[in-house]
């Protein structure tokens, strides 16, 4: 059984998560080339968040997720608040069902995460369509989601190394409860 994380370690890892998110946003913003990029980039920060929630939800509380994605919405000129809303819903859903995810073998975990990513992509699209605003072509979304699914195992490996987390045993209790 894993030892409980100390508050100090939790704070440190939250800070680490925040820094990684900032660096991610930062790299998307650097003016390397300003031509219209139909470049499809995977949603790395989102995937890292999902990985962490299954491994150790204490490191990514909802308010931290909210702040990070609100910041990225503002800075990356995306529809304000939309991404934040969708991702908070998805991560909260995952947080409530993480016990199931912890029992899964990696392959089925991957499959379920893929479904979640797809849901998030289409939820965003549906909200944009429902409010009659400009939306991305479906192919772009599918390839974006596909790329995110593809890099999931890579990011799991990286997160395991950087945050030193592992899928905990089911019986481990968390200091602040599953909803913080």
């Amino acid at each position: 059984m894993m030892a409980k994380s100390t508050p100090w370690k939790i704070t440190l890892n939250r800070l680490l998560y925040f820094m990684i998110a900032l660096i991610g946003i930062f790299f998307l913003l650097i003016p390397i080339s300003i031509f219209p990029n139909n470049l499809i980039s995977p949603e790395i920060i989102f995937v890292v968040t999902l990985v962490l929630i299954i491994r150790n939800p204490d490191y990514v509380p909802f308010w931290l997720i909210g702040i990070v994605f609100l910041l990225s919405d503002i800075l990356l000129t995306q529809p304000l608040g939309l991404n934040t809303f969708v991702i908070l819903l998805i991560t909260e859903f995952l947080r409530r069902n993480r016990l199931n995810f912890m029992e899964m073998l990696f392959f089925s975990e991957w499959l379920n995460i893929a479904l979640l990513l797809l849901t998030a992509g289409f939820m965003r699209e549906l909200l944009l369509i429902a409010t009659l605003s400009e939306h991305m072509p479906t192919l772009t979304i599918i390839s974006k989601v596909g790329l995110s699914i593809f890099i999931y195992p890579i990011l799991v490996g990286l997160v395991n190394i950087i945050f030193r987390v592992r899928k905990a045993h089911k019986n481990t209790s968390y200091s602040l409860g599953p909803n913080t």
Binding site: F26, F27, L29, I30, P31, I32, S33, I34, F35, P36, N37, N38, P61, F62, W63, G66, L70, I74, L75, L76, T77, Q78, P79, L80, G81, L82, T84, F85, L88, L89, E92, L127, T131, S133, E134, M136, T140, L176, G177, N179, T180
Partner: protein, 294 residues
């Protein structure tokens, strides 16, 4: 676990639940605000960017430098072929220069004959591109000029050669430039030798489409595209690029501005001329109002 601990845990949980709910409501209402009152939402965005981006400059500069260096190294590999190309281009440029000189002399001569009053030169302010916030939604960049430098929304921005876009949001120290390539950019243009009017409409590609051309028979790939000045948003006769045909035989524009490598931009200061709305304003000063009673 003791009873007291349980109560404390429940308390934190319910606080967390409320917090999450608040966060969801805030983000959703932000989205609704963005959709309903877009200018105000973009204003909020500009304010936040205005606070953050100028402070990020120190971190951005070295990273940008390094990536530029790598791109330069890639360029060296193509040096030989580029050199050949440049030689060929130089050759043709020489003949153009000759033609231009002759035209200039002719022009000076004609102007002398005509005593034409030239437009006062548009003057400009130069700014540096801070960040490229282009996403699939918006093709735009943030520059380091704002209200404090007298930037006004709607002004045209160019790189050294051609039109790049227009100012769409102004903070106190930064402002946003919406590129011609953005889907919401539609500009009245003039296609030069034949003086055909058209609309240059961005479509997220490097070659914006030319729509509503009056007579497609009269234009050919290679014709020059300039702003027409219709509608008074842009000054007229700013170079945009050249006409080209795409695979499906539709007219597009090859932009003269180099969007691949944009680091400085010129914002054209331009105050639109007062539109003529009433017929009696065409000639002469404004007449004093005469009452109709007597």
């Amino acid at each position: 676990m003791s009873n007291r601990d349980d109560v404390a845990l429940n308390f934190t949980r319910s606080i967390a639940r409320i917090g999450l709910f608040v966060f969801l409501i805030i983000s959703f209402s932000l989205f609704l605000l963005w959709r309903i009152d877009n200018p105000r939402a973009e204003n909020i965005r500009m304010k936040v960017i205005d606070q953050i981006v100028p402070n990020m400059d120190w971190a951005m500069a070295p990273v940008t430098k390094v990536t530029k260096m790598f791109q330069n190294i890639q360029n060296y590999e193509r040096l030989y072929s580029q050199n050949q190309e440049l030689r060929n281009e130089l050759q043709s440029m020489r003949s153009w220069r000759e033609a231009a000189l002759q035209l200039e002399q002719e022009n000076a001569h004609l102007l002398d004959l005509n005593k034409v009053k030239l437009n006062p030169k548009y003057n400009f302010i130069s700014g540096k591109v801070l960040i490229d916030s282009g996403s699939n939604f918006r093709q735009s960049a943030i520059i380091n000029l704002g209200n404090n430098d007298g930037i006004v929304e709607g002004w045209a921005t160019m790189d050294g050669l051609g039109l790049v876009g227009r100012i769409t949001g102004v903070g106190s120290e930064t402002s946003r430039v919406l590129f011609l390539t953005d889907t919401s950019s539609n500009i009245p243009v003039l296609i030069k030798p034949s003086n055909q009017r058209a609309i240059l409409s961005g479509d997220n590609s490097l070659q914006p489409a030319l729509l509503f051309i009056e007579n497609t028979q009269q234009i050919q790939p290679g014709d020059r595209v300039v702003t027409s000045g219709d509608g008074g948003v842009f000054p007229s006769d700013l170079l945009i690029g050249q006409v080209s045909l795409n695979n499906s035989n539709q007219f597009q524009t090859q932009l003269a501005a180099n969007l691949y490598n944009l680091s400085f931009l010129r914002v054209i200061r331009h105050s639109p001329t007062a539109p003529i709305k009433q017929p009696n304003r065409l000639i002469g000063p404004i007449l004093p109002k005469v009452s109709n009673d007597g």
